[in-house]
């Protein structure tokens, strides 16, 4: 079996991490008291707030910095961040939604062939193969990819696909 050059690869975005600022001080106790789906973590100086739609979790610091995780697209992350900012406004804080930025995108992609991991790392320096750490590339052909945005992740897959193709398990002749 020789994979076609036009093979369609499923890239599934599993997590998008975004940050934004409220440009005002936030009283964490007030948020913990008056907010629903809130977990107060005084030992870390932050509050966790979970939204149902979209399904995201926000870490809120009193400085006004907020990190949102759990979205499956950049637009969803922005939608969740805005809803969170509106919720904080309703709690009485003078929130101004600013400096929104997607900082990390985690995706999973599965290649349609198995991979010789050791050959792949030997032929493609400076890629390293450390089985004692998280491999990121699995011999079954699955990859996990992280990048600053979705476009970077897609570009990374396009870049790495031909390198993996060379190291697929060959057919016996």
């Amino acid at each position: 079996m020789e994979p076609s050059n036009d093979v369609a690869l499923d890239i599934i975005i599993t997590n998008v991490v975004a940050v934004f600022r409220t440009r005002c001080h936030l009283n964490l106790r007030t948020i913990a008291l008056e907010g629903v789906n809130v977990i107060y973590k005084p030992e870390y100086g932050k509050v966790l707030m979970k939204l149902r739609k979209p399904r995201i979790t926000a870490s809120i610091w009193s400085s006004g910095k907020i990190i949102c995780t759990g979205a499956t697209s950049e637009d969803e992350a922005k939608q969740g961040a805005r809803r969170l900012a509106r919720t904080l406004q309703k709690l009485g804080f003078k929130v101004r939604f600013s400096e929104f930025k997607v900082v990390n995108v985690l995706a999973v992609c599965s290649m349609p062939f198995a991979i010789r991991l050791i050959d792949f790392t030997k032929n493609n320096r400076p890629i390293s193969y450390e089985p004692e750490l998280h491999p990121a590339v699995f011999s079954t052909g699955s990859l996990t990819i992280t990048g600053p945005n979705v476009q970077a992740v897609a570009t990374a897959v396009e870049h790495i696909y031909p390198m993996l193709l060379e190291c697929q398990k060959p057919l016996r002749k």
């Binding site: 805005r82 193969y129 089985p131 057919l171």
Partner: protein
């Protein structure tokens, strides 16, 4: 601290800050010296740590010098000069690890983790950063090279254990090496942590070298305790997986005449299985293909319409003598051991072939999730497959999602669901006070 206050503050505070700034700038040289002295102290501490690690691992003088050089270069680099003390401690171990790899000295990252009592993730991060910063090439150690070093840690000589349980390191290493090759052929090694599979191979090698009842009754935990090594929580799973592979091959031994081989009885046959490994592999693959062919007997019209249904037989032509399903005679069992190991022959093409065919075909216009609905599950098509393929992941169900732009209008009603009503707040405060007072009573 700047000439003009960057933030609103009282005049007196501003004057105080300006005076501090003046004092610090006058004493800048002093502070610089203090900082340099502190850095030099930590550098010396780090070098001592590198030397200590080298002596524990009994590295050569040349390797010790190389590790020290790496440490000094990394420590003084801007990427590491301001990192935390914890990372600087770990940096010493990473330099030793890189040096060992450069000199082909077999050592696992886990060994460094144990010696430094550090988090493996932290070691991984620092190691990769260090290799990138210093631009050095440190090829990873192959698992076979790690085996001999790992075996030597097992205290199984007659001085340490009873004679019945003792085993020479040389025999143990030799047997474990063959088991490890078999594990690698069966996709049990690639992409996995090396220590658990090494432990499993050594344990099964020890049991199979003298498969007496005494040894067979030993569990992995007890074996590790006896040999004075740390037991890994993952090693029992590797033992089970390796035994499954041995059972599949043991089933093909002709003198068993169809008797079932179980994980409990396979250890006595390990010697024969390993001696005839290649032949047994071929026979096992051939039997598996026959079994699949007899299970899924399709009408000729359907066979032609399903892509890939003929390709299995074509691919195994190199592996078995004849390929017609249901009419495949087994290879004659020569009875002589396979003297050439798989690695020397140039690799594990038998299992590779089967794995390739086991994967779903993906091509333009083909939906990989819906192709070949009547062909058996890919996990059943092949005898030896990676566990991730055998236990296929549950495909994510694509729920139709409404297009999201991120700038939609937000209605008040959905935000109100995240805010407590005044009554709920009162109830919550009362409940909290009641809990606090009941805790005080206790």
């Amino acid at each position: 601290m700047v000439g003009t206050a960057p933030f609103p503050c009282r005049t007196t505070d501003y004057l105080f800050l300006t005076q501090c700034e003046g004092w610090i700038s006058q004493n800048a040289v002093y502070f610089n010296h203090v900082w340099l002295a502190i850095m030099y102290h930590f550098l010396q501490t780090g070098i001592h740590r590198v030397r200590a690690l080298c002596r524990i691992l009994r590295l050569t003088f040349l390797m010790e010098e190389t590790a020290e050089t790496h440490f000094k270069q990394a420590y003084e680099h801007p990427n590491f000069i301001r990192v935390s003390l914890q990372k600087k401690e770990v940096l010493a171990g990473c330099c030793v690890l890189a040096t060992c790899r450069q000199h082909s000295w077999p050592i696992a990252m886990g060994t460094i983790c144990c010696l430094l009592e550090a988090n493996p993730r932290l070691i991984g991060v620092v190691y990769q950063e260090m290799v990138k910063t210093l631009k050095i090439e440190a090829p990873p150690t192959s698992i076979i090279n790690l085996l001999e070093t790992h075996c030597q840690a097992y205290k199984l000589s007659p001085q340490h254990v009873h004679e019945e349980l003792s085993e020479s390191s040389k025999d143990l290493t030799k047997r474990a090496a063959v088991l490890l090759e078999l594990a690698a052929d069966a996709w049990l090694v690639t992409g996995r942590q090396p220590i658990p599979i090494l432990t499993a191979s050594i344990f099964l090698a020890w049991q199979s070298l003298k498969p007496t009842q005494t040894r067979l009754k030993y569990t992995l935990a007890r074996f590790c305790q006896m040999a004075k090594v740390t037991k890994s929580s993952i090693a029992p799973k590797r033992v089970t997986e390796l035994k499954e592979v041995l059972c599949k091959l043991g089933q093909e031994l002709p003198w068993l005449r169809g008797d079932e081989v179980t994980p409990q009885t396979v250890i006595q046959m390990v010697d024969d299985i390993l001696n005839h490994r290649l032949t047994l592999l071929r026979r096992a693959l051939s039997s598996h293909e026959e079994a699949l062919a007899s299970e899924s007997v399709l009408p000729p019209s359907l066979e032609d319409s399903i892509p890939g249904s003929h390709t299995n037989t074509t691919c195994l032509e190199g592996a078995v003598s004849s390929q017609t399903p249901g009419q495949t005679p087994k290879d004659p069992f020569v009875g002589e051991p396979d003297t050439v190991s798989v690695q020397q022959q140039g690799d594990v093409d038998l299992t590779c072939t089967v794995v390739m065919e086991g994967l779903p075909h993906t091509g333009p216009g083909t939906d990989s999730q819906h192709s070949q609905p009547s062909v058996p599950n890919s996990g059943k098509r092949s005898l030896f497959e990676p566990p991730s393929v055998r236990y296929a992941k549950i495909r994510r169900v694509l729920v139709p999602v409404v297009e999201v732009t991120g700038d939609e209008e937000i209605s008040d009603s959905e935000i109100d669901s995240y805010i407590r009503t005044p009554q709920e707040i009162r109830d919550y405060v009362e409940a909290k006070e009641a809990l606090a007072s009941s805790d005080d009573e206790f």
